[in-house]
Symmetry: C2
Subunit: 381 residues, 2 copies
DNA sequence: CTGTTAGCGCATTCAT
DNA sequence: ATGAATGCGCTAACAG
């Protein structure tokens, strides 16, 4: 309850002196400082950050929007994001859209009302490009394109797809079934672009960059090698039971399948189903997981996987978040134009790709994190 | 950038009228309302919640402290907490202590500085009882005793331990190895109290109520039935590799083990290790997981488990959180004494146990959520 | 029913 | 080096 003025009164100084002591800024004589700290102790004074926030117009809080924490993939990513935000003195408000009635708009709202300094968007959004453009506050996207004004950090799924394809081709499989989320959500016209590299992709802000990309690359490379492929859809990623159903479907619908590529949980379900049906892995069937979270090490056997570097992804997401916050602060202060701060970041990452839009002065930035293939029990050498 | 006064000016009314329109409180004539909303549209006005927060002294934000989001157990719990907080118009700031340099004190700090309305404490705390008592702001604990002023919601691990013991005894096993976190952390004197029921436990605020309790009950009941038991420790729960090491240790150190009880991830590791060593489950060995998250359904085989009702746990945690917030608001308004609001909650839950401390006027409250045993592939009937 | 005004608790110019 | 005054943007008495 004790306020800064109580402390000032008790110490026989003015409020600004107390303020200087609190923030250890400016010059305060040692005597004054001692008296002030003594008064603070006595009154058990604790500064109220709400006032500070109002004055500063910042809360040091970032909204982190993920589909669900149930998936180790997003839980891990969220954890790493929290870690890197913490190193910058920022807090994370977590929103798993699956756990909430109100969707992502609530958080964009908080962003607009200055309850949030920025938003990291990791969920699929049905909102239009125009909507995201109209926000004009710091937003960074994970693995998806929102609009020209919003930078993206995501896995290099082109490489990811190639890694899987190469391994399967080398192993000599004939019929690959891969499992994934509904494809309808994604821009199908991207279908013809799967062999573009990250730089080329990033120059096409009209297409999204979701994980699903690796599937397109995979299919193309396998087809080019004369290998048959089929796709099994998991409609709702937050319904874990569907992964088991998908695993069953693989065996039921494709009797001659000799390789499965699937996100971690689905891959784990396939391992379990294989044991139940007496299918030996990797002798009778190869299994490769896509994502490579700890689920691949706690399944029935250790699963080979294309691993996403979530730590690095989180690090970059936070770097861009800070940049965006700073960029908008500059804009709101009036100095510096919108494109300015981008340059300074562009050398930060090896795979960083910037495409400047000279008309708007604002670039769309795609920051690709490399993926890695790890060989384990479920594939043959 | 547009403020409430800009809107007022544009609409030709006063700021308070605008405020009334925004909060749709009080009476405003339709004409005025129309003009105000029109002005808001034109100016693209968005209220700044920082000012509102300062005035109200609340942020509608609750700190949720968990050891790590890596564990599906805590990730799921955190997700459910977020869900229930959301239904009450509250946001969740997430802190997994494993992901952060700064520990839980940072969040208690935010609580004191009014950045947080309350804190839900799910991590182990090394801080003293006196420390927690001195906070005097809303705190609710998960599965652990902090101090007399702080209510706890936790699983009924007494029942949990009994469920496991009964099953194992019925199955006729001879040598049980169970895996768990380091025991040193927990009050050893609780050792002699393991047969107390929830009510009796709750009347002993000097002991904590961690998950580990089930192990004590388990050991006692098994010993009483003449069954040998051994304990394998996992020193650091956030180091997933240790679960695999523990699983190996079970086989290496105890060749005649015929049953394993372990937290989900460790149980999954045991399943994997058993397959590697040719041990058949459940023919040669029974496995029961404690917690029952989805990990038990994605392991090498479906694992029998004592399931914690995390949804109900989360619900109650949030109920108590709201109660505490309200209680402290009353206290700060001066009306109502500290013990008052507790009564109204005590009938809310079937397993709710209150112990009133007439001296302080504030009870220690322990709210126990029932556990359930689910039979799956890894145990015999 | 609407407008005027006084804070909410702190940070920061400016004088001194 | 220190203090008095002003404002951050909004809310809620109170007066009209």
């Amino acid at each position: 309850m004790a306020g800064i003025r109580d402390v000032a009164k008790k110490a026989g100084v003015s409020t600004s002196t107390v303020s200087l002591v609190i923030n250890s800024s400016g010059y305060v004589s040692d005597k004054m400082r001692a008296r002030v700290t003594a008064a603070m102790e006595e009154l058990n004074y604790i500064p109220n950050d709400l006032a500070k926030n109002l004055y500063r117009g910042r809360t040091n809080t970032v909204g982190v929007i993920m589909p669900t924490l149930q998936h180790p993939f997003f839980a891990t990513l969220a954890g790493r994001i929290q870690h890197y935000l913490d190193t910058q003195g920022l807090h994370a408000i977590l929103c798993s859209t699956a756990d909430q009635q109100t969707g992502e708009t609530q958080y964009v709202d908080m962003l607009q009302r200055h309850t949030l300094d920025a938003v990291i968007m990791g969920s699929h959004s049905t909102l239009s490009q125009e909507y995201w453009e109209s926000i004009k506050r710091p937003v960074v996207a994970f693995d998806r394109y929102l609009c020209d004004f919003i930078p993206t950090v995501g896995g290099d799924h082109i490489t990811g797809g190639r890694l899987v394809a190469k391994k399967l081709i080398d192993t000599g499989v004939q019929h690959v079934v891969h499992i994934g989320g509904p494809r309808g959500r994604y821009h199908d016209r991207a279908r013809g672009e799967q062999l573009l590299n990250a730089r080329e992709l990033s120059s096409r802000p009209d297409s999204s960059f979701p994980t699903v990309r690796y599937q397109l690359v995979l299919e193309d490379e396998l087809h080019a090698a004369g290998i048959e492929t089929n796709f099994v859809t998991v409609e709702d990623l937050s319904d874990l039971d569907l992964f088991h159903k998908a695993a069953s479907a693989v065996f039921d619908d494709y009797s001659d399948v000799d390789a499965v590529v699937a996100p971690d949980l689905a891959a784990a379900a396939v391992i379990q189903e294989a044991r139940r049906r007496g299918t030996r892995i990797p002798e009778d069937m190869q299994v490769i997981a896509y994502d490579g979270t700890y689920v691949t090490t706690f399944a029935g056997q250790q699963i080979s996987a294309v691993v996403q570097n979530l730590d690095e992804t989180a690090r970059r997401l936070v770097v861009h978040t800070m940049d965006e916050i700073e960029r908008y602060e500059k804009i709101n202060r009036g100095d510096g134009d919108m494109a300015q701060s981008v340059e300074s970041v562009s050398n930060e990452h090896r795979n960083y790709v910037s495409v400047f839009d000279t008309e708007s002065g604002v670039p769309y930035r795609f920051d690709a994190v490399k993926l890695e293939y790890v060989e384990r029990e479920t594939t043959k050498h």
